[in-house]
């Protein structure tokens, strides 16, 4: 059960409007590997970017469940749009949960609710082997200013974002794992692309590598240590919202499979087509996937009041497992949907095509490689005693 708040129900209804716009342009976004500008405009019009901001700062106090449901709805129309929205919300959640008490960020939250800037993330860096909990670059402070130079291997929609939340060592003397988050704003940074983004799927996220150079006011550094932000919010919320995007992709593929089976049934009234039993299996799998995701979301929300419970090793293992399981389910479900849709599903020019969904689904296993999460879990499980 979704159990959305009344705010959530309204948000999802608005998300379905954006979904229509996103779906209209999804093939073009995919083919040209271009950013979904139309969908972003619609997200702003529907005021969905700032929905998670607390009402005290002018937002709608949406819950993580609500945002997860929005991600799912958007991804049904366009996977890229769903993923861009998810990644933006992860940054919003980090600020809402860990920076409300900082004067600059309190004002920034108001701005997020009102002007709805799109926020990107710069956590990956050349030389740390994909470990976001280590940084080489450092925040350099001079009086009331800071400077930052980061060789980021990926900044999704970096060129299209308004502001970027970046990780760096807190000071030039700090060890690699002693990190801080810094918000750098459009006028304060330059980006120099260091790689392209010509990929199998999720082509419109424009996740190029960039050399990021920024000079910002010193109060743009979050006072909370990134270690806490990462364990309590960035990692679990990423897994939850990514999984919700994948659920949206899988749901759309199942819808197309269902349409195919129904069309076959209409051709021979009174008989159940052979593909109907394949569809029954498929629906079983998506119900399981949906249940696993919503169970994890509710577990997260239950623990939100106690930060220590969010940062426990057992919960980290659980969230890693959510990501692994959902990323495998989406590929399996879309692949099975393709077999039901048959050649019409394989073609791009049919209304039951699932080609784009299949390519997008394969991104799930490599957004943080599942093998890396299994390796982390293997270590953590040496210390965890109960499930």
């Amino acid at each position: 059960m979704k159990a959305l708040s009344p705010v959530g129900e309204g948000l999802v209804a608005r998300a379905h409007k954006v979904r229509q716009v996103a779906a209209e342009h999804a093939d073009d976004v995919d083919r040209k590997a271009r950013f979904p500008v139309e969908a972003l405009l619609a997200l702003r019009q529907e005021r969905l970017l700032g929905a998670y901001v607390p009402a005290a700062f002018g937002g709608e106090s949406a819950t993580i469940s609500d945002i997860a449901a929005v991600c799912e709805a958007l991804a049904r129309g366009c996977s890229t749009t769903g993923m861009v929205y998810a990644m933006h919300q992860i940054q919003v959640a980090c600020i809402v949960r860990h920076a409300q008490g900082d004067a600059f960020f309190a004002q920034y939250l108001r701005e997020m609710a009102e002007r709805q800037p799109l926020v990107a993330s710069a956590t990956s860096e050349a030389g740390v082997g994909g470990d976001t909990r280590r940084s080489i670059c450092a925040v350099v402070r001079q009086a009331n200013q800071i400077t930052l130079e980061k060789n980021a291997t990926v900044i999704s929609y970096g060129a299209q974002a308004d502001d970027i939340l970046a990780t760096a060592r807190r000071t030039p003397e700090a060890v690699e794992s002693d990190q801080a988050l810094v918000l750098v704003r459009k006028a304060e940074y330059s980006l120099e692309p260091t790689s392209g983004w010509d990929t199998l799927g999720m082509r419109g996220t424009c996740s190029l590598g960039f050399m990021l150079r920024a000079a910002s006011p010193a109060d743009h550094v979050l006072s909370a240590p990134f270690a806490d932000v990462s364990a309590q919010t960035m990692a679990p919320v990423s897994h939850i919202l990514w999984a919700s995007v994948w659920l949206g992709i899988a749901t759309e593929a199942v819808r197309r499979a269902r349409e195919t089976v129904r069309a076959e049934a209409k051709k021979k009234p009174g008989s159940t087509p052979a593909s109907a039993s394949r569809l029954a299996e498929l629906v079983n799998r998506i119900h399981t996937m949906r249940a696993a995701i919503w169970d994890a979301v509710h577990e997260y929300e239950r623990r939100m009041a106690t930060p220590d419970e969010l940062a426990s090793l057992a919960f980290t293992v659980r969230m890693n497992n959510l990501k692994i399981a959902a990323s495998e389910s989406v590929v399996e479900i879309v692949s099975r949907a393709l077999l039901i849709c048959g050649i019409a599903g394989y073609r791009y020019d049919s209304k039951v095509s699932v080609g784009r969904q299949l390519r997008d689904a394969y991104s799930a296993g490599v957004m943080i490689l599942n093998d890396r999460l299994y390796a982390t879990n293997a270590t953590l499980l040496l210390a965890v005693r109960e499930d």
Binding site: R133, A174, V175, E176, S177, D178, P225, A227, D228, A231, D308, A311, S312, L313, A314, T376, T379, L380, L382, A383, V384, R385, E386
Partner: protein, 83 residues
Amino acid sequence: MNESIRAILKEHARLSADVDALADDADLYAAGLTSHATVTVMLALEEAFSLEFPDRMMRRRSFESIAAIRAAIEELKGERVAS
């Protein structure tokens, strides 16, 4: 006890700072302790002090300093005596 804890940190914590130079209340994470190394340190502490860290103590805060580790061990030993 602090000396045994320091010896374990030296061997297992893979800190970038010199363990002997750290104050008892110094932040071990700022000295380079990672969550992976925390697991190794915990297993070594269990072996050395013949105790088990329950899940509720498997938190960042329990291992944030030499003093915090000592407090955790004393709490667990106290529980053992009490039970």
